[in-house]
C-alpha cells in the first residue's frame, strides 16, 4: 500500500543533491515479495519521489531499472495523468540502488503492477495541493478550480495559473488526507493507456545514453577476467608473463571464487583478471594468459548425456506435486484412447546486447558502483555482505541497461569488479567478452517432460499426466537442490489453463552442473512448450480443430482464486484465443506449404494467445506472420506493450529456431553470435499485436508473457504445414533453418 508524505527539504537535498524548491512528495511502497532471493529489509520511508519545480518542471525519481520495457515512461505517465500535467515538462531520474527507493528489482513483469496506484495517488495529491494554492490566491472555493494541461483554471473567470507559479504557495498548504484523494475515471485518462514515446528516445538515437559499459571515471582501469571453462573450477596455476607483456596491460591478478552463503546472493566465479588501461588490451591480455585449472566436480558434465539421463528418468514415477487431482490411473485404464509424447528444451542463455559489466571503486570505508543492474538492491546488500562495509556506505548507481532478460539481476559481475578494485586500489571497469557471457552465465535450465493423456468414450480428455525434469534455479542458492521448486512448477505446470478433473504432475530429479538462473518468462518457456505442443497433438489425435480443442479444454467460464490477488479467469483466456483466431483468419485456406499453429499461455497474470504462420520450402522453415493477443488488464502505455510483445515474438523465435547451449567435458561449447544465433532482420516476420481493452482490470505482466507461446506455436505450424512434429528444440538441430 502507498502512503504519501510531503518531504522535508533538507532531507531531500541530502538524499538527491537536487534543488529543493517546489513541491516534493514522497510515498512508500511496500516491497513486493521476490522469488528465489531473500529480500534485504531496509525499511526506509518514503521511497518514491516526485518534485514539482518553480519552472514547472516535474521530476520523477524512478525506482525501476530501465532495460527496454519503457518502464520510466509508463510510470511517469501515471503521475502526469492524475496531475493533469503537460508531458513536455516531465523528466525521470534513475534512483541509485538504495532501499529508500523501494524494491528496485525489475524481474517478473511486476513494475507496472505494483507501482501504478502509488504513482497515480502522488499525481492526484500534487494536483489537489496546486488547486488549494490557486483557490487561496483567487480567494475562491476549491471546487471552482480545475487542473488542465499544466495550468489551474478558474472555471468562473477562466483565469489561469501556471503550475510552476503555484508551487511556492502549494508547498505550504497542508497535504490532503489520502482518503480524500480522488483518482480519475478510466474514461478520462489522457496518458494512461495511450501511446507515449519513450522519454529516452533522443539519447538512444544520438548514442548519448550512458550504459554500464559507457561509464568513465577519472583514472579508472579496464579489466577482463579469465574464468574456468567448467563451472566452479578453480585456478591451479598460471603464467602471466605473456599477458603482462601485452601493450596496455598493467597487472595480472588472481581472484578467488566468492561463494555465496546458502540461500542468498550470487557470489562470483573467480579466475584471473587482466587489468589494463583500455578494454581491448585487457581482452588481448586475457587471451595471452596460460592457466592450468582444477576443473572440479562438473568436469564430466555433458548435455547430450544429461538429456538421455533425464529422458530415462521420465520412464519412472516422479514425486507427485501438490495440485494434482482426481484419479489419473483410473482414467487411463478406462480410456478409449491414449496418447503420449516427450519434449525437450535445451539450456539457453540471455545474451543481452550489452555484455555484463560493472565499474567499481573500493575506497576503503566506502564502495561505489556503476552498473546495468536489474536488481540493484540485492547487489548492494551483497557487496556490503562480502566486503564487510555497512550498507549505507555502499552506493549502487544504475545505468541504462543494454538489455537484461534476467541476466542483469544476478550481480556476480559487480562483485567481481568490487573485488578487483579492492585489490588494485583504483576504480575499475570489468567487461565480459561475448564469449564470457555465453560460457559463464546463469543459464536458463534445460528440461525434459513426458506427457500422457487419455480420451474417454465420448472423446473427452479424461486424464492428464505430466512428468517434468528441470534443474532448479534454487540450486544457485542452495547446493543439492535436485528438483524443480514449487514456485517454478507453479509457472504453467501446476496451473495450466485447462479444466482437467484428473491431473497428475510429477517432479523428476534433475541436478545442476552449471549455474542456473531465470531468463525472460522463466519456467513458462518449458510449460508453454510442453502444454501447447501436447494439446496440439491431442487435437490431431481427436481429429478436432486445434483452436476449438483448446477452447473446449479450457472449459466453461470459471474464476480460479489463487494465493495472489489476481485470479485466473477462463473466459479471458478464451477471449484472447478467439480474438487471435479472428485476426489470423484461422480456418482460411493457405498457400501451398504454409501452415498455421496456435498456442495459449497464462503467465505473470496475463493471458496470451498466438498464431504463427510458417512456410516450409526444401525443409527450411520461414516464419511468415505472427498474430498475438494479450489481455494484461489496464494498459499504461499501449505502444510500449506492443513493442514488448513484438520483442517477445522475436525473442521466442530466436530460442525456437536457434537457442541451444550445450556442454562437453563440463565446458560450454558455444562462443559468440555465430554459434549462438539470433533472429535477424531477414528472418523477422510480420507481427500483428492486439491488446484487449481491459482498462477496468488491474494491470498485469507485459515484458515476459509473449515469449512462452512462440516455440509451440511455431512447431505446431510446422506440423500443420508438413505433418512433422518437432518435440525437441531448437529447429536448427534438424536442419530446418
Amino acid at each position: 500500500m502507498s502512503n504519501i508524505q510531503q518531504i522535508n527539504r533538507r532531507d531531500f537535498v541530502k538524499l538527491f543533491g537536487l534543488a529543493s524548491s517546489g513541491i516534493i512528495l514522497g510515498c512508500t511502497i511496500s516491497s513486493d515479495k521476490k522469488e528465489f532471493v531473500p529480500q534485504t529489509d531496509g525499511k526506509f520511508t518514503p521511497n518514491l519521489f516526485v518534485q514539482i519545480q518553480e519552472d514547472g518542471n516535474i521530476i520523477l525519481l524512478a525506482s525501476r531499472s530501465e532495460m527496454g520495457q519503457g518502464i520510466r515512461t509508463s510510470l511517469a505517465s501515471a503521475i502526469a495523468d492524475e496531475l493533469e500535467a503537460d508531458w513536455k515538462y516531465i523528466t525521470v531520474q534513475q534512483a541509485t540502488g538504495n532501499a529508500k527507493y523501494g524494491n528496485q528489482n525489475t524481474d517478473g513483469s511486476r513494475s507496472v503492477r505494483t507501482l501504478l496506484e502509488p504513482m497515480r495517488k502522488m499525481g492526484a495529491t500534487a494536483k489537489a495541493m496546486l488547486i488549494t494554492a490557486a483557490a487561496k490566491k483567487w480567494n475562491v472555493e476549491e471546487s471552482v478550480c480545475k487542473a488542465e494541461n499544466h495550468f489551474i483554471i478558474n472555471k468562473n473567470t477562466s483565469d489561469t495559473f501556471f503550475f510552476g507559479d503555484l508551487v511556492v504557495e502549494a508547498s505550504k498548504v497542508a497535504m490532503p488526507a489520502e482518503e480524500t484523494i480522488k483518482l480519475k475515471k478510466v474514461e478520462d485518462f489522457k496518458f494512461i493507456g495511450k501511446t507515449l514515446k519513450s522519454i529516452d528516445l533522443k539519447d538512444f538515437t544520438h548514442g548519448t545514453a550512458t550504459y554500464g559499459i559507457d561509464v568513465r571515471i577519472p583514472n579508472m582501469k579496464f579489466a577482463a577476467i579469465a574464468r574456468c571453462p567448467v563451472t566452479f573450477g578453480t585456478v591451479k596455476s598460471f603464467d602471466s608473463s605473456d599477458a603482462e607483456k601485452t601493450a596496455g596491460v598493467e597487472q595480472v591478478i588472481a581472484l578467488d571464487r566468492i561463494v555465496p552463503p546458502t540461500g542468498q546472493f550470487f557470489g562470483a566465479l573467480g579466475g584471473v583478471a587482466v587489468v589494463a588501461n583500455n578494454t581491448w588490451s585487457a581482452f588481448k591480455g586475457k587471451l595471452n594468459l596460460n592457466i592450468e585449472w582444477n576443473y572440479g566436480d562438473n568436469h564430466s558434465f555433458d548435455t547430450d548425456k544429461f538429456k538421455e539421463t533425464l529422458t530415462a528418468r521420465l520412464q519412472e514415477n516422479g514425486k507427485v506435486v501438490p495440485g494434482s487431482r482426481g484419479n489419473v490411473s483410473a482414467a487411463f485404464s478406462n480410456s478409449e484412447k491414449i496418447i503420449e509424447a516427450t519434449y525437450h528444451v535445451p539450456f539457453l542463455v540471455h545474451a543481452p546486447m550489452e555484455v555484463p559489466n560493472a565499474t567499481a571503486w573500493f575506497k576503503g570505508d566506502k564502495i561505489e558502483v556503476w552498473a546495468p543492474l536489474q536488481d540493484p538492491q540485492t547487489a548492494r546488500a551483497e557487496i556490503a555482505h562480502f566486503f564487510e562495509i555497512p550498507l549505507e556506505n555502499v552506493t549502487v548507481n544504475v545505468t541504462f541497461l543494454g538489455g537484461g532478460f534476467g541476466r542483469k539481476s544476478k550481480s556476480d559481475f559487480v562483485v567481481e569488479a568490487v573485488a578487483l578494485s579492492k585489490k588494485i586500489n583504483a576504480p575499475v571497469q570489468v567487461v565480459w567478452t561475448r564469449e564470457d557471457d555465453i560460457k559463464h552465465s546463469f543459464y536458463h535450465a534445460t528440461s525434459a517432460q513426458y506427457l500422457k493423456a487419455s480420451f474417454d468414450k465420448k472423446g473427452n480428455v479424461s486424464g492428464w499426466l505430466q512428468r517434468v525434469g528441470l534443474p532448479s534455479i534454487t540450486s544457485s542458492f542452495k547446493p543439492i537442490s535436485d528438483y524443480a521448486s514449487g514456485l517454478e512448477l507453479n509457472q504453467g505446470f501446476t496451473n495450466n489453463p485447462y479444466d482437467l478433473d484428473n491431473f497428475r504432475l510429477e517432479n523428476v530429479k534433475a541436478e545442476a552442473h552449471v549455474r542456473i538462473g531465470w531468463m525472460r518468462s522463466v519456467v513458462h518457456i518449458h510449460s508453454g512448450f510442453g502444454n501447447n505442443s501436447f494439446v496440439d497433438e491431442m487435437a490431431f489425435a481427436a481429429k478436432k480443430d486445434p483452436v476449438q480443442f483448446h477452447l473446449d479444454l479450457i472449459g466453461k467460464d470459471r474464476v480460479t482464486v489463487g494465493r495472489s490477488n489476481h485470479s485466473f479467469n477462463s473466459k479471458r483466456m478464451k477471449d484472447v484465443l478467439k480474438n487471435t483466431a479472428k485476426n489470423a483468419g484461422w480456418g482460411k485456406s493457405l498457400p501451398e506449404n504454409h501452415g498455421l499453429g496456435v498456442a495459449i499461455h497464462y503467465s505473470f497474470y496475463s493471458y496470451v494467445a498466438t498464431i504463427v504462420e510458417v512456410s516450409v520450402k526444401d525443409k527450411k522453415v520461414k516464419i511468415e506472420n505472427i498474430w498475438t493477443t494479450i489481455d494484461c488488464g489496464l494498459v499504461l502505455n499501449k505502444d510500449n506493450v506492443k513493442n514488448q510483445l513484438e520483442g517477445a515474438a522475436i525473442f521466442g523465435m530466436s530460442l525456437a529456431l536457434f537457442g541451444k547451449i550445450s556442454a562437453k567435458d563440463g565446458a560450454v561449447e558455444q562462443h559468440n553470435f555465430f554459434d549462438y544465433q539470433m533472429t535477424r532482420m531477414k528472418d523477422a516476420p510480420k507481427i500483428h499485436i492486439d491488446i484487449m481493452d481491459k482498462m477496468h482490470e488491474p494491470p498485469t505482466g507485459v515484458g515476459e508473457p509473449g515469449v512462452p507461446v512462440m516455440a509451440p506455436a511455431i512447431c505446431n505450424a510446422i506440423f500443420n504445414a508438413t505433418g512433422k512434429r518437432v518435440r525437441s528444440l531448437p529447429l536448427v538441430d534438424f536442419g530446418m533453418v
Binding site: 520495457q69 544520438h206 548519448t208 581491448w280 537484461g404 522475436i650
Partner: protein, 153 residues
C-alpha cells in the same frame, strides 16, 4: 601518435596501431555511442562509416582509419537526421543499445539506395542484431525516413 578524423573533427591519440577502431574510439577518444556487442563482426553494434563505407569497427585496426573520414552515431548527416526523426516517430528503440549500429547501417543503406525495398532492407540490416527484437519497427522507420525525405524536397 595517430591522427584520426571523426565526424569532421581531428583527434590525435597515442595507441597501438593494431587496436580495433572500436576501442580507440570508445576508450581512447571517449566517444561511447559506438557499442561493443561481440567483437567478431557478428552483431553490428560497432558499426561506423569509413569514407562512407559501412564498417564493423571491432574488426578493423586503428591504422585502417588513418587519413580517412570516420563517421559515428555522434555525427550528423542528412540521411541520419531523417532516420532519427523516423526512429522517434516509430518509437523504435527498446533498450536502445543496438540502435547506434542500426542507425549507422540504415544511414549507409539510404546513402546507397534512395528508395530501398524490403529486400534491400533485409540485405543491408541483417548484420545488425537487436536482441530486444525491434526489427519490424526498424523496417517501418526506414521506409518512413524515405517518405520524410521526399516530403522535405
Amino acid at each position: 601518435m595517430i591522427s584520426l578524423s571523426i565526424n569532421g573533427k581531428s583527434y590525435s591519440i597515442e595507441t597501438q596501431e593494431d587496436m580495433p577502431l572500436l576501442w580507440a574510439i570508445r576508450d581512447i577518444i571517449g566517444l561511447t555511442g559506438t557499442k561493443f556487442g561481440c567483437g567478431v563482426a557478428q552483431c553490428g553494434a560497432c558499426s561506423i562509416l569509413i569514407d562512407g563505407t559501412l564498417t564493423k569497427s571491432c574488426s578493423m585496426p586503428v591504422s585502417y582509419g588513418i587519413g580517412k573520414q570516420i563517421f559515428t552515431i555522434e555525427g550528423s548527416s542528412s540521411n541520419l537526421e531523417f532516420l532519427r526523426k523516423a526512429w522517434n516517430d516509430g518509437n523504435v528503440p527498446q533498450c536502445g543499445y543496438c540502435q547506434s549500429g542500426q542507425l549507422i547501417a540504415a544511414t549507409s543503406l539510404l546513402d546507397k539506395i534512395e528508395i530501398p525495398t524490403d529486400e534491400d532492407i533485409d540485405k543491408a540490416m541483417s548484420d545488425n542484431i537487436c536482441r530486444c527484437g525491434t526489427y519490424t519497427r526498424i523496417r517501418k522507420a526506414i521506409h518512413e525516413a524515405v517518405e520524410l525525405k521526399n516530403d522535405a524536397i
